[in-house]
């Protein structure tokens, strides 16, 4: 069986939430096997876009098309291969790391032999193997996020969408988290990572800069800066604001 490889093409997505035009005609391509950063400040539309990709929100206009090895594919046939790590993750404060993994094994109905192998692998790469008996409520911010990621990865997804997983996490845990994502990315998993930290743009294969519902730039991290002739992503926002675009 050929391994699943997921890409997503979206075209002219518009979505109004209450009085706000949360997404105002967004078109882009999330390429198979790459690590995509969805970067923008609070209120840019990052969460709305992720939720639209996941079919949790229906856009007012526009289309979302999934691909597998370049061929169009129906969302329903792959939805179980897509993992989502929301901003507010509902882990259970009283359950230990080990109990969480068991719980998600049951939820995803993962065979025991597959589970044990995957569990060992994940505990190793997250470096959480020494803490398996610690309740989630007593984990540090960074460890909590890693547990959330582990639960999402237990079913070996072909794509994972993460909503601000590094928010409030210290620089060391952030770096470990990114190392983890790069390792996953090498396994040909599509990763879409939403963040408000501009400096995280550099860590992605492709960046999509979102502001008040529109894409203001996209491409490779360096390509965007060179094309816009700016030093940093902060400077890009400041330049656009000065141009009156934002």
């Amino acid at each position: 069986m050929q391994q699943m490889s997921i890409g997503i093409k979206i075209s002219n997505i518009k979505k109004k939430l209450g009085p706000n035009q949360a997404l105002d005609g967004v078109s882009t391509h999330f390429e198979e096997g790459l690590l995509h950063g969805l970067i923008g400040p609070e209120g840019a539309g990052k969460t709305t876009l992720l939720r639209t990709l996941l079919n949790l929100l229906t856009p007012d206009e526009g289309t979302v098309q999934f691909t597998n090895h370049g061929a169009n594919i129906d969302y329903n046939s792959i939805r179980s291969s897509i993992a989502y790590m929301p901003q507010q993750q509902s882990l259970y404060g009283d359950l230990s790391i080990s109990e969480h993994l068991d719980f998600f094994r049951d939820l995803y109905q993962i065979p025991q032999d597959v589970y044990l192998k995957r569990r060992e692998e994940l505990l190793h790469i997250t470096r959480l193997d020494k803490f398996i008996d610690r309740p989630a409520g007593k984990l540090s911010g960074g460890m909590y996020k890693k547990l959330g990621l582990m639960c999402a990865l237990l079913q070996s997804p072909a794509a994972i969408l993460l909503d601000e997983p590094t928010n409030g996490v210290d620089p060391i845990s952030r770096r470990e988290f990114w190392d983890l994502l790069h390792r996953l990315s090498k396994e040909n998993i599509l990763i879409i990572f939403a963040t408000a930290y501009m400096d995280e743009a550099e860590r992605c294969d492709r960046v999509h800069i979102l502001s008040t519902g529109s894409l203001i730039a996209e491409g490779t991290p360096r390509g965007v800066l060179e094309r816009e002739n700016v030093e940093s992503y902060d400077a890009l926002f400041i330049k656009r604001a000065a141009e009156g675009v934002l």
Binding site: P171, I172, H182, I238, L246
Partner: protein, 310 residues
């Protein structure tokens, strides 16, 4: 009389224990009046505990703490009056209007109504706020909300202002505007105490204290911290194409190399032996564009907190 610098915060031999656990372990430091002071550390390093002591929310187990000339002997209420605290997440109630938020804060702080009126006018002018006072906080854009939070936290005109990740998530334009306000407050003699995981914010500070497992392990200005932590420059390796997968692991154990970390598509390398590195850099030149880069505060943070020895 000699000119003694006025300190806003004096901490000597502060220790805080929770049962057997030592959260803060015999730390001493001072913050000058009008300084912008950054307080960094990994989750669980003891930052929050220290700040709770400085805000009059927690009694020290031992040691001396003086906040704007007030000590614990004078009672914690006296300390609380001297400090303001702003967190982007908790300072304002979303379901209340700006007016209601200010009135609520004023009653908690026992601010008389004429003072509230005067301060509200002053502060809204200071932040340049022009929307109606009955606007609900939840309807404010992120950047404006953050400036209103700042105003609410200094309504009682404190000497020391604690900021907890104040600009995380706001636009770079709003962030620049916020720091301009903070610098103005410092210029007017207020002392600013910033805790953050956001290195862009740390860069704005005059001095930075770095905590690890209850101790202060470094205290200096951002530029000096970079210089003393990294006397040798950091090398950026930018792959020219696909590189052999075992190459990075080989570099990691090479005796010229102290450490190598992936940084997006690039790698940051720290040199252990400059002479060995000269040769190695020639050997790997076909694979990478190699250049020297100045260390960032994040590099400093990781180096110091992980305690890697050269």
């Amino acid at each position: 009389m000699t000119n003694i610098p006025v300190n806003a915060v004096d901490v000597s031999n502060l220790t805080v224990k929770f049962g057997d656990f030592i959260a803060v372990n015999n730390i001493s430091f001072s913050v000058e009046k009008g300084e912008i002071f950054g307080f960094l550390g990994a989750n669980g390093a003891g930052k929050t505990t220290t700040i709770r002591v400085l805000c009059g929310l927690l009694l020290p187990t031992s040691g001396k703490v003086k906040v704007s000339d007030v000590t614990y002997e004078q009672g914690i209420e006296a300390i609380k009056a001297k400090v303001g605290y702003m967190s982007q997440k908790f300072t304002l109630y979303n379901d209340l209007s700006i007016h209601e938020n200010f009135a609520f804060t004023a009653s908690l702080r026992k601010i008389p109504s004429d003072t509230l009126k005067r301060r509200t006018k002053e502060l809204l002018e200071f932040i340049g706020f022009s929307k109606p006072m009955n606007t609900l906080v939840r309807d404010l854009p992120g950047g404006i909300k953050q400036q209103v939070s700042l105003a609410a936290s200094i309504l009682h005109d404190p000497e020391i202002i604690f900021l907890d990740e104040p600009t995380a998530g706001v636009t770079p334009v709003a962030r620049a505007r916020f720091w301009a306000l903070i610098k103005q407050l410092a210029k007017d003699g207020k002392t600013i105490f910033v805790t953050t995981h956001y290195m862009d914010e740390a860069e704005q500070c005059g001095r930075i204290a770095l905590m690890r497992t209850g101790k202060i392990i470094a205290l200096d200005g951002p530029e000096n911290l970079k210089k003393t932590t990294f006397p040798e420059p950091i090398i950026e390796l930018n792959p020219k194409g696909t590189i052999p997968s075992e190459l990075i692991e080989q570099l990691r154990i090479n005796k010229a190399v102290d450490s190598i970390d992936s940084y997006g598509m690039k790698y940051h390398l720290i040199i252990k032996d400059p002479q060995e590195w000269n040769q190695l850099s020639i050997n790997i030149a076909p694979y990478f564009v190699i250049r020297q880069i100045p260390p960032s505060l994040e590099d400093v943070f990781i180096r110091l907190v992980e305690g890697v020895t050269r």
